[in-house]
Symmetry: C2
Subunit: 218 residues, 2 copies
């Protein structure tokens, strides 16, 4: 029996990366998920990622980078409760270069476990707002990873260019347990329903025609 | 009076990045040093970095990423005492993609504090061995940083292509307090004198004709 090809998946606990993980499983990869605590208020994300990985028979490597809050905590509402959260996209929602930090560690993990590719959940609905979700970014990152490791590392966002609603639809086909996923930037019992991430989640489920099992406060 | 331009410096506690910091100070920059605990055995490095920053009237931001040991601790002798340290370059001395992880966080820090450039201590003597010390790597990284942040971030290794002995010589001219610097991969009272990093340090000081104030065990 041929050994399965290993891949690292940046698993956030949100629905997009959960769909990526289910997609990679279906593609036949051996999954090495990795999840970051980067000082975000929504620590619930990491628990969500654990459950999603377990549902795939995998275990996600949770990496505590919470000290990063000291690096960018003054500028992002995701790590600093004194900066107001908005329902629409706003500058403080951006954690500067966050995906590059995650992908750098993911590359290091890939080299350490002998995986040659990394998948992450960037998609078309985020591309206008988040520069580190764009194809030109991750293609440049891939080149950097190859030069910086001397290995033929592949970085891929399989849903690049697709709408979030299309990702949700794909996930439903793949059997993603959306009840395990967490999108809210807050850390309450239910999704707040008002922050940009909740608003995007609700809209994507509505547009896809898939039922959202999450409970919302508003 | 014009405000000084801000720069982030990846300050390891070793002599190379100390020279970069002194060079940047002389160039007139306002220094924002950043130092990483990445689970290395030589935690003394971070204390060294603190002293070097203080000697420049700056304070280095120490970021505790020691959980990274769980990511690459199985493959690198720098974080795992069960993997033997060698006097010559060997694969386990490499922490895969380490400089990319550091530079990613440095970029995030730069954006957060309003700096547009990052300096790090890569130089010509490391280039044959460490892919993430090479110019083509950091040029690709710079492009990635610009695409991933939407800002005109500059990444520079001012001693790219120079021998370590030339860097040491330059540092002596700039008044770098080499007695504060730490190179050893071990964490004993004195430099071990036998690991690859000690060997390189000793050779560079010898070749430069500068006295090395470090005490060595061998």
């Amino acid at each position: 029996m041929t050994q399965k090809q290993k891949c690292v998946i940046v698993l956030s606990g949100g629905p997009d990366s959960a769909v990526v993980a289910y997609w990679a499983k279906k593609e036949g990869y051996d999954l090495y998920p990795i999840t970051f605590n980067y000082g975000q208020i929504a620590v619930k994300e990491t628990k969500a990622a654990e459950k999603i990985a377990e549902s795939l028979g995998a275990k996600t490597k949770i990496v505590d980078l919470s000290a990063l809050k000291g690096v960018f905590g003054d500028v992002t509402s995701l790590c600093n409760s004194e900066i107001p959260l908005t329902a629409e996209f706003s500058q403080p929602i951006i954690v500067p270069f966050r995906n590059a930090i995650f992908l750098s560690v993911a590359v290091s993990y890939a080299v350490s476990v002998g995986a040659d590719r990394i998948f992450y959940g960037a998609h078309g609905s985020d591309e206008p707002f988040y520069p580190d979700c764009r194809r030109e970014f991750y293609e440049a990152f891939e080149k950097t990873a190859q030069l910086g490791t001397g290995e033929h590392i592949i970085i891929q966002a399989p849903f690049s260019g697709k709408l979030k609603s299309e990702v949700i639809k794909k996930g439903a086909e793949l059997g993603v347990p959306y009840e395990f996923t967490w999108s809210c930037y807050r850390d309450a019992e239910k999704h707040c329903g008002k922050c940009e991430s909740c608003v995007n989640r609700k809209k994507a489920f509505q547009d896809s025609g898939i039922a959202d099992p999450s409970k919302y406060d508003a």
